[in-house]
Amino acid sequence: MEYAKGLLSRAKELAVQTAQEIQARAANASLVAAGMPVDAAPGSRGASPGVDSPSGGSRDVSGGRSISGAGASSSGRLGPGPGASTSMTGGIQSEDVRLARFQAELRGSTINLHALKRLAFHGIPDKGNLRATVWKLLLGYLPLAPEDWARHCAARRTQYHVFCDELIVDPKRQPDPISFGGLGALRVGDGGGSGGGPEPAGAAAAESPLEASSSGAGAGAGGSSLGPLALATEGSGGVPVDDHPLSLAQTSRWCTYFKDSEVMVQVERDVMRTHPDMHFFTGDSPEAEAHREDMKRALFMYAKLNPGLRYIQGMNELIAPLYYLFKTDTQDPLSSQYAEADAFWCFMELISDFRDHFCAQLDNAQSGIKATIRRLMLVLQHYDKELWHHMEVVHKVDPQFYAFRWMTLLLSQEFAFPDTLRIWDTILSDPHGRMDCLMRICTAMILHVRPILMRGDFSVILKTLQRYPPVDVNVLLTKAAAMPPCTEILAASV
């Protein structure tokens, strides 16, 4: 309790500073609106804004209520800011305070998801390596009682590896009646043999993911033997088989294998192109290879488990941040080891909101991507009719040219990687839902570059929006936070 009181008093101190910073922010915002570049702190490393100003001393452990409607939240930027020099020291303090608040929140016997969401809305501090855990909570992967985490994770991870085992078809492997037995080496790839397939970590881990069993390399070497005995050596003394590589039967393992290979080729093509600027994903190093294999497998599993949707180009961009985060999580060693399984489940959860955007058949339906983009345009109209008119009517810029990628990939392609993580903090924790938050941020993005758009013609508009100019994402997020939920706007405008 002492600790909580300490937090509270500190928060009150900072409230005063916050007020000052809000003013500085407002000055900032007007500079931004005038189109002049503000402090270009690249990516917002360590710039977690938002000391929540408690009004009237709420006593919950998290220490404060967020100023959701107030618009400006103070900048916790560590670099020199345009505001007074107090903002620098204020920034460092607030980062630690926020970190402390997060840690306090995660310490209880039951986590208050609502409070966590409010905290995360203003960004999760990069220090203290909390993001992976918080995201897992926000995506519903971890249960709310920390003591259940180990058990729950183990169950999910085992389930994932069981799926891997069952669904990745190795046509040479004898179907074994004892489910986990007979693990064979995995060859995923087209018949041409794309240089030795990956050994799934799942092969060995199917037994028990909690043991530090290494990847299936061991299992692969031993387990790949089928009946190797030479049978009759003269004439056609072979064993009659039903399943053979050229089989066209639906139940044929070979047939399934070749169909899967086609999906795998697609997945591979996309995964190879994920974040070419990051060593984590690109290059020939064995770690990068391993990371790519993991992501390929997870995406392939999703395609197999969702035969209606299968794999669509772009899904790799959604799983990449999740996998990166979990793999580099130093908080929990198991988390890094089973990053693939965790990322798979979280990806399932994340994409469930946005599934319909990926389905081509639903393009024209109520829930499809075109409808969402239309709704975005309605919201934009509400805020800035002139701008909308200028873009859509005068210069006939089809919003699909830019908004499609924004919405389907959750803005992961528009900003630097750290900024994407920061934006996803907000999207995942928004109380009005992820889709709503995404739409608001997109609207904020368009409004932010209004001066450039108003002055420009078709090519300028397109260039600006497709290659979004560098910006401090906190400005956009603040703007988006200040907007009422889109559902209200859309209801009103109908």
Partner: protein, 190 residues
């Protein structure tokens, strides 16, 4: 896991009009890595069809072929040395000893020959001698001359699955209008 198709002795158009329809159904592109043709395709046009089945086509000259091709080939596929020859050069036709002589000359792990129009898969020491038979079931002088009179050859071809040290031979035969598939495993090391 490399799939190699071995096919030959088609004699199109002289002794047979076309591949059996059921075989054509099975031979769809996309699954097979390379094709080895032991010769006596005869028609150049049909050679082009064979080229569409997979990415690579290796063909040797048979005694009735209408195009130029090498007499013998030694290929390196998936770590196996595969020797290809039509077999009319091996005298006596179909003789096991003479065939293994050729195998030793080529230094091949797997020797694929034709000419006899009869499917055979024989292990000779550590080497494998394969004969895919005739894919069209064409008339064969070798078979006709023997007594007691033999029935017409069964249409057949072979698909090899080369995987590490193991070769799995799938033989496809057209028996009574139906495709029958049999599998034989060989280990290179053994």
């Amino acid at each position: 896991m490399v799939l190699v198709l071995c096919i030959g002795d088609l004699h199109i158009p002289h002794r047979a009009p076309d591949l059996p329809a059921k075989f054509k159904e099975l031979l769809k592109p996309g699954k097979i890595h390379s094709t080895i043709c032991v010769g006596n395709v005869c028609s150049k046009v049909f050679l082009d069809y064979l080229r569409t089945i997979s990415g690579e086509l290796h063909v040797v000259a048979g005694d009735f072929d209408e195009f130029a091709a090498p007499e013998q080939l030694v290929l390196d596929i998936a770590g196996f040395r595969v020797g290809v020859c039509h077999g009319h050069q091996i005298v006596p036709w179909g003789d096991a000893e003479a065939t293994s002589l050729l195998q030793r000359q080529m230094g091949a792990d797997i020797l694929v020959t034709g000419n006899t129009h009869k499917f055979e898969a024989r292990k000779a020491g550590s080497c494998l001698a394969l004969n895919p038979g005739s894919a069209t079931g064409a008339f064969s002088v070798a078979a006709a001359g023997s007594s007691p009179p033999q029935p017409p050859p069964t249409p057949s071809f072979v698909l090899m699955d080369l995987d590490g040290q193991k070769v799995t031979v799938y033989v496809y035969q057209l028996v009574d209008g139906e495709v029958r598939v049999e599998k034989i495993d060989y280990n290179k090391a053994a």
